[in-house]
Symmetry: none
Subunit: 216 residues, 4 copies
């Protein structure tokens, strides 16, 4: 997932153009994630990208176009881990790896996580079709994987979708609600020890639950 890929057909014939587009999208992600579509001013993005507003508009003709481009990148980041969920290695290793990777993404791309979250919370106006298409397809394949594991007796008969939702919710929470988490723990995922502790805690809870194993 190299971020300099997704230049969706933009004006980038020259090297400098491509570089500018990357700088813009980096800035846009941060600003949109922080203030939302309406709350972000184009000038603010331009400033963060180190260029004039007018020049930014040379690359992205409208605010919506810019937002859409930033969002597309975000979605790529969001989908990546799920794609790698592999049926071959079984639920214990497979889910552990998935949780760990999702959490790693929350650490590395917290703004992407937040931008995605805000978009969904506002009714996903720009993402509806992708959710119903690409995401739904992918999810269907992965739930089949999980169902296979259940059928093989490798895990408890949980509803696969709820499992996915739980993994998404918990791992993303550490990016999306980092402010709250920082207030209560004094740490966030950028802290190595806290990251490791969180990883262990989530894997433990989701795989084994919080109640004692031995009866009582």
């Amino acid at each position: 997932m190299d971020k300099s890929e997704a230049n969706g057909g933009k004006r980038s014939k020259t090297r400098i153009g491509a570089a500018n587009i990357d700088r813009i999208l980096d800035a846009a992600l941060i600003e949109f994630a922080h203030s939302g579509l309406r709350g972000t001013r184009i000038e603010q993005v331009a400033e963060a990208a180190g260029m004039s507003k007018t020049n930014l508009l040379y690359y992205f003709r409208t605010k919506d176009e810019l937002y859409a481009a930033a969002l597309t990148r975000t979605l790529d980041i969001w989908l990546e881990p799920l794609r790698e969920l592999d049926s071959a290695i079984g639920p214990a290793a497979g889910l552990t790896a998935y949780i760990e990777q999702k959490l790693d993404y929350s650490r590395r791309f917290p703004e992407a996580s937040r931008l995605f979250a805000m978009e969904i919370m506002q009714g996903a106006p720009h993402l509806k079709t992708v959710l119903a298409g690409e995401l739904a397809d992918l999810v269907e394949r992965k739930t089949a994987t999980i169902k296979g594991w259940i059928a093989a007796g490798l895990m408890a008969p949980v509803e696969p979708l709820h499992l996915l939702f739980t993994i998404w919710a918990t791992t993303q929470h550490y990016a999306d609600f980092s402010e709250q988490i920082r207030t209560l723990t004094g740490k966030d995922l950028t802290d190595e020890a806290f990251f490791a502790q969180t990883k262990a805690a989530l894997v433990g809870m989701i795989l084994k639950g919080v109640l004692p194993r031995s009866p009582g």
Copy 2:
């Protein structure tokens, strides 16, 4: 958590004033949750509350004041379930009740959940002090409860904060990401059966995990 209480010193000397303030705050919650602070127009709230923009501004002098009032209400809703987490009944019943009640709140007040989430994701500019004060205090008391259960051998030695985060994340997810959930399942928490199923799934996963109990 009766919503008609929080008239924090507003112009509500008469009955009609208090009623208007309630209508305004109801509308404000919905609109702000949907479009954010910047994205919501005052007129939009006024219309939803069935009054003129100017009349709304008679009660709340600025948009920020209105937003702050709506947010305060939201926070009350958010904190309520946690306050009821009771040490006496033990982890199995206690956590089950807490999860169920949080989920019930997600069903009944999805907009409040979303508004709270958006505020936190933007860095909690209006809520920071409350988070560090009231919330931190409450959380400290409740983590003590959980630690007590662990010390008594009633539950596995999980880090209490991560447990709370997990419960918050999962239950709120069904409100905050309802659009995505609706796209993938065709349902949301307003569907009785789906609500029951979700409740069971979350309680099951968090209490017992997803791996089979008997080493299988």
Copy 3:
């Protein structure tokens, strides 16, 4: 010049009404003098008068009506000293008395002076007819007096109007520009010594000039 007289036919049948009207006009004078017609809010006057905006509007139906009333009072104050300029006592005593009384009015009614000044500076939209009528008549009579003195060889042949303008300008200056004067001298007319000093200085300059008498 008792200020409780000029209630120009206002609703003041009761004692309390008359008292309110006085309080309002006192406040209006101060506020209008400080911020001008447009710059003054009705509520500001009401507050200064210790009543609600709506109640003030019971006495003066519009802002303009209130302004006109305050201005009329002001004009009375302004004209008073000139009326007393007396031909019988000759220029030395007469002009001295006039200057002293004008300066005394600047000390006692600085807001009235300022309100009058602002109104004139903006083109006297509310005062034009009075200026051209009442004031012009009065001025004509007084310039005749001065001309008489000149004809009698009692004073130098100065243009009477310029003399009046000079007296008005200098005496009013100490009220209107009191801020500047306070900055440069640390004092204003409320300081007894400064008042006396100013009086002597003005009388001296206007009557005798600043150059040495004996052919220097």
Copy 4:
């Protein structure tokens, strides 16, 4: 005192920008002087400057910024004559020249005089620091000059500050109260004869007074 200088760091990188700023400030001076800060609409200034309101706001982001810029120019105009008061030529010629130049400024920049007056009368909120700094310094130097003349027996022992106030008051009066003056005389300083007559009258009164020279 060339008015096209004071572009205090504004957006004026191009020639067109500088020209626009000048046109705006010219218009602003007139409008503010006539209607005050609150009473003047931005659109009104824009119209007078021959551009759209939004374009004006491109150069001056707020009304206050525009007002401050106009006021600064005004102050420059106001201070100019005083700077030229010269000790070398003695009181008769020096004061005559000063009075004449002040009066000339009243004729050429009546709006600047009025704007300055209104600002002072409202308590000089935007000018306080400049008055206490630049103006106070300048005044101190000039009063020293006058004191020197008095010590040399070249003029009567008047308090220099009162002399300055008298000159300011009288000369500015013909600009600030021109409406009243026009009502009473039918003329103003734009009338050549009236200007000359006024000049002579003021110089005469201030230098020699109104009482007869011979045996007083």
